[in-house]
């Protein structure tokens, strides 16, 4: 129970940070998506039977729904569904493999972007590449830090 409460606080904090603080550090229009990165890492690194990551997906989606102009449920369904997919794809790859990280994050990023653009009826290709690289760089940095200090 305590683990879930800490997760709720951390995800709420990350959602507020990414909408208020990180916008001032955009690179060519791209801003780090801390929530997407967190959902990806929690589902990718945890064991298959652990439902923690799926809870993180749905909860963080709910937080983003409240602060978004889109219909309530957009991010809840997107991130919740994405969590399931990341868990399934994690089964197919060996997690220490750098290419596994790359391909699963690539899938996660574009799955997220395509679903959100389905709801917004708009899709901006120009900044997508920069945004993907920016977020991927953060994923690798965090993975490196986790493997170095948490294991």
């Amino acid at each position: 129970m305590r683990k879930y409460l800490i997760l709720i606080l951390i995800l709420s904090f990350l959602a507020l940070i990414q909408e208020s603080f990180l916008h001032h550090f955009e690179i060519l229009g791209a801003v780090p998506n801390l929530i997407l990165i967190s959902v990806f890492l929690l589902n990718f690194l945890q064991k298959q039977e652990n439902q923690f990551g799926i809870f993180a997906g749905f909860f963080s989606g709910a937080i983003l729904d409240l602060s978004s102009a889109l219909p309530i449920g957009t991010f809840f369904l997107t991130l919740g569904t994405l969590s399931f997919f990341i868990k399934k794809m994690g089964k197919l790859f060996q997690k220490s493999n750098i290419f596994a990280v790359f391909f699963i994050f690539l899938f996660s990023f574009f799955f997220y972007k395509i679903l959100i653009s389905f709801f917004t009826l708009s899709f901006n290709l120009e900044s997508l590449f920069v945004e993907f690289l920016y977020n991927l760089a953060l994923v690798f940095l965090l993975l490196f830090l986790i493997k170095r200090y948490a294991s």
Partner: protein, 274 residues
């Protein structure tokens, strides 16, 4: 593991809850969430401005001298134009007095501030909502008179604003170059705006100032939008188009104003609402 029937029931329950939230009570829930989160987000927004300003200064030091020289030249050109405008204003005043025309425009403004910006769309959250008389489609400007966007959704104490760079944002503009030219500005998302439908015969160049027009009724006339960044012409198309460098991205968006209505004396109050 849940049985298949329970899973279906759970999915139906989630869908019904989401539809209900969107139809009834969604605005109140969002308003409550903003009431709780806005003090923290405002603090983060200001902290972000401060840190990025400091880092920006460090990275831009080598460009500061060149930028300073260019701004000095531009300031001189603007001062010259100001003198010409001052003379025209005096002439205009004299003519109006002579013709006894008493029309003036004024804005009713509501002071507000930015709280956050959505990560996936060009929308911002501002303080102030229905309690302050803010409603949908009201324009948002900076204290310098730079256009920022239009209120998309108004809650009790907060409002969501669609930036002029948002993908569904379309409005009339006037490009002030050697001659004034009318066109359409369209948001492209990611803080980018383009202009189009400018006749090819009109000469426009990079740096020409762009302001709003009242043709479509979206915004009052004369609000600064930005300047021409790039012009694109082809032999085939009868119109030219290009990109706009929006001014609202170049200034700190802290103190903002919602235009509640603009009034011409002698005419009934007109709200820029469609």
């Amino acid at each position: 593991m849940l049985s298949k029937n329970y899973k279906i029931l759970l999915i139906v329950l989630i869908v019904v809850t989401l539809i209900s939230l969107n139809k009834f009570g969604g605005k109140k829930i969002r308003n409550t969430f903003y009431l709780v989160s806005s003090p923290i987000q405002k603090t983060f927004w200001r902290a972000g401005e401060g840190v990025s300003g400091f880092l920006g200064t460090l990275f831009e030091i080598k460009n500061l001298k060149k930028e300073n020289e260019e701004l000095f030249k531009r300031n001189f050109i603007l001062l010259q134009k100001l003198t010409v405008l001052h003379n025209l204003r005096e002439e205009n005043k004299t003519l109006r007095e002579a013709l006894d025309i008493g029309l003036r425009e004024k804005f009713t403004l509501v002071l507000t501030e930015i709280i956050s910006k959505e990560i996936d769309q060009d929308f911002i959250l501002i303080s102030g909502g229905k309690a302050e008389g803010i409603s949908e489609n009201m324009p948002l400007i900076t204290k310098e008179g730079v256009l920022v966007g239009k209120v998309k959704e108004s809650f009790t104490n907060f409002s969501k604003v669609r930036l002029i760079s948002a993908e569904k944002s379309v409005f009339d503009i006037e490009i002030q170059g050697e001659e004034s030219v009318l066109g359409i500005a369209k948001g492209k998302g990611n803080l980018k705006i383009e202009f189009e439908l400018v006749p090819k015969k009109n000469q426009i160049k990079e740096g020409d100032i762009i302001q709003t027009m009242t043709l479509g009724g979206s915004f009052p006339k004369g609000l600064l939008v930005g300047e021409v960044e790039k012009v694109r012409k082809t032999d085939v198309a009868p119109y030219q188009e290009g990109t706009i460098k929006p001014y609202f991205t170049a200034i700190p968006l802290r103190t903002l104003f919602v235009i509640k209505g603009f009034v011409r004396e002698g005419e009934p109050e007109v709200h820029p609402v469609k």
